[in-house]
């Protein structure tokens, strides 16, 4: 039903786009026939904005309240099941390496409080395990973690904590715009994550009413971060503490690594969950290359030209270096009407070359350090 409502709006903007484009092309053709620059400007503008309207497709946005309404019933049901079956232990997010099937990624909830992590041989693909006296369920934030990976274009199992520390804030604030700020502090085997003004704050606030969810398995957002940490560290993680500020704007969650397990091969750990689709690289990722290299090349061209000019002036005219670089070039094209001297070109060329090279190599150096 919502699709049938949204369709006319989309087709309207497309129709406007095509109309603009058509009128623009007509105006451009007429501008050539009547040699009118005004018509040409109008045509250029209409054609460009028309093409832009067609290219910029509408994005689907939903009200944040819908997130809460959709998820809260499932969370309540999960809480009821855990409470009625008297599973009192804290939920432990287990890494994929823990299971026979590398695509599995589950939360283990022990029957008793303070129970130990089950051995890898004891883990089960079934929900209720007789061997371990606990239950294995899918983490509420598993799909959200997969979505984070798709957006970043990197598997967390192949990344490290430094990568998460650098990229999760950017993902939350810029890519997905689901929080105003995100801070990750790492201390030995604990992680302190602070999320400011998140769209999930109401859901988090409601989930706090369910004792078996908040601070144990976690709400979808807390659980998704736990999954990301589990994949990056390759170790079991528990949500130790979860606080929500009185105004509801700050969610603070403490995670802790429980023990250490030996990683299997990188290949198995990479084959987690749903089929993986790499998102296309954002232009911002390649921008340092796109901008840096032409700037460096342009700077180098200027430096070559200055070198050639110096050589020519010395060999042909026998000028001194001081006169070449600081002498006035009034009346020559070099002065560009603003008394430009060769030294200015030398400085401009050097700055362009060095800044271009710096932009180009900075990304690679950072990537190298991260590795």
């Amino acid at each position: 039903m919502p699709q049938s409502i949204a369709k006319p709006k989309r087709s309207f903007s497309r129709a406007v786009g095509w109309t603009f484009l058509f009128c623009g092309i007509v105006a451009l053709v007429n501008s050539i026939i009547f040699a009118s620059s005004i018509l040409a400007f109008i045509g250029l503008g209409l054609a460009f904005w028309g093409a832009l309207l067609i290219y910029l497709r509408q994005e689907k946005y939903v009200k944040a309240m819908l997130i809460d309404s959709t998820a809260i019933s499932s969370i309540e049901n999960l809480d009821k099941i855990i409470t009625e079956l008297k599973y009192k232990g804290k939920g432990i997010h287990l890494p994929p390496e823990y299971f026979k099937d590398p695509k599995s990624e589950l939360v283990y909830i022990p029957k008793k409080e303070g129970a130990e992590i089950p051995l890898a041989e004891e883990t089960s693909e079934e929900v209720f395990s007789q061997k371990t006296q606990g239950m294995f369920i899918t983490p509420p934030g598993l799909d959200l973690t997969n979505y984070f990976e798709n957006e970043l274009g990197k598997k967390f199992a192949k990344a490290d904590l430094k990568y998460l520390q650098n990229n999760l804030p950017k993902l939350f604030m810029e890519n997905l715009e689901i929080a105003e700020d995100l801070e990750i502090e790492i201390e030995n085997n604990t992680f302190h994550i602070k999320i400011m003004n998140s769209v999930y704050k109401d859901l988090c606030s409601k989930a706090r009413e369910f004792s078996s969810i908040c601070g144990s398995v976690g709400c979808p957002l807390c659980s998704s971060i736990a999954c990301a940490l589990t994949r990056a560290t390759g170790n079991p993680i528990i949500i130790e503490k979860n606080n929500l500020s009185t105004d509801g704007n700050v969610i603070e969650t403490h995670y802790r690594i429980l023990g250490t397990i030996k990683r299997q091969t990188e290949v198995t750990s990479a084959e987690v969950s749903v089929p993986f689709k790499f998102a296309g690289r954002h232009l911002g990722y390649t921008l340092p290359d796109v901008v840096g290299l032409p700037i460096a090349a342009f700077g180098l061209a200027i430096l070559f030209w200055v070198g050639w000019l110096t050589w020519y002036d010395i060999t042909t005219w026998g000028k001194s270096l001081f006169l070449i670089f600081f002498g006035s070039r009034a009346g020559e094209a070099i002065s560009a009407g603003i008394d430009m001297r060769v030294i200015y070109y030398l400085l401009i060329g050097s700055v362009l070359f060095l800044s271009g090279i710096f932009m180009f190599f900075r990304k690679r150096l950072r990537a190298h350090v991260e590795e």
Binding site: A35, A40, E180
Partner: protein, 70 residues
């Protein structure tokens, strides 16, 4: 019959367009800016950056021509 706009007219038009697009791409964040404008912000940012780069190329061509002319 000839196209009535010169290279520099198009350069000026690109400058104005890229400025509008760059400002628009910064103001259309659903979180911090206009929430009712439902467009693909990433695509808008890409177009804005591309237009700005094309304009800068025309500027470079202009500088090159100034230096080259005797």
């Amino acid at each position: 019959m000839q196209f009535p706009l010169s290279f520099w007219d198009i350069s000026l038009w690109l400058a104005v367009t890229s400025m509008i697009l760059l400002v628009a791409s910064e103001l259309t964040s659903p979180r911090y800016g206009s929430a009712s404008l439902l467009i693909n912000k990433k695509a808008l940012k890409n177009v804005a950056t591309l237009t700005a780069i094309i304009f800068l190329i025309t500027v470079l061509i202009r500088i090159y021509e100034i230096i080259r002319t005797p």
